[in-house]
Assembly symmetry: C2
């Protein structure tokens, strides 16, 4: 239904996580909110550099910023993390389901020697699967 929107959200989340600096920032924020200078401290990078990374994180919804005097404390949001996690889990679920099904099928073949090809789908693809 909202496939395109979901796509955009996932794009942003995975893009945000695809950089070691940003992952380190996320990991740091998981332990508690922090200001931009606090976040920048561990890195050999200029402040605007960190600022740019934070904008990417903010655009993905992973990080939100509020204002407190001249500070802009950063806060890690949970939902985008959950969405990314959910996508991977679903892909893995499908993968494992197929694997289990194949495994059961092979076991069945071994028990009663039917040698039927009615359950195959993509021809040579399945042929490859049977050899692994």
């Amino acid at each position: 239904m909202t496939a395109v929107i979901d796509d955009e959200r996932l794009d942003a989340a995975f893009t945000a996580l695809a950089d070691p600096t940003r992952r380190a920032i996320v990991a740091r924020l998981a332990r508690g909110d922090a200001t931009v200078t606090e976040l920048a401290a561990p890195f050999a990078m200029s402040m605007p550099g960190i600022s740019k990374h934070l904008r990417v994180l903010e655009r993905s919804g992973l990080v939100t910023r509020s204002r407190h005097a001249q500070f802009r404390p950063c806060h890690l949001e949970r939902e985008p993390l959950d969405e990314a996690l959910g996508w991977i889990e679903e892909a893995r679920r499908v993968w494992r389901e197929r694997f289990d099904k194949l495994d059961a099928h092979l076991r069945e073949l071994q028990r009663t020697d039917h040698t039927d090809r009615t359950t195959t789908t993509t021809d040579h693809a399945d042929q490859k699967e049977a050899t692994e």
Copy 2:
């Protein structure tokens, strides 16, 4: 120890997942191996375009390719998926742990009105947490 290498692997995995076409390919491969033309079919994109995406997926270790005559059947590997999942899970674990700890702390404060600030860490950051 192998932090940099892990970084590179995670970079590649998240980068690979940060594109809707590549995610669709991964989702398709979760259901079973497929050739490049089979993978390209659902998309309004030239074959070399798909080929490039597959190279990104291959570089990340998410996809491996074997040879079968002139076909190059693609196969989804589980490990990089697990690594990406593991990283997110760990971040979320830390996030929730802190949340639970804060929650317990607030409950404790409410029970016995100590009003002690000895357990705070990053000053205004925690102050912000208390207001959410």
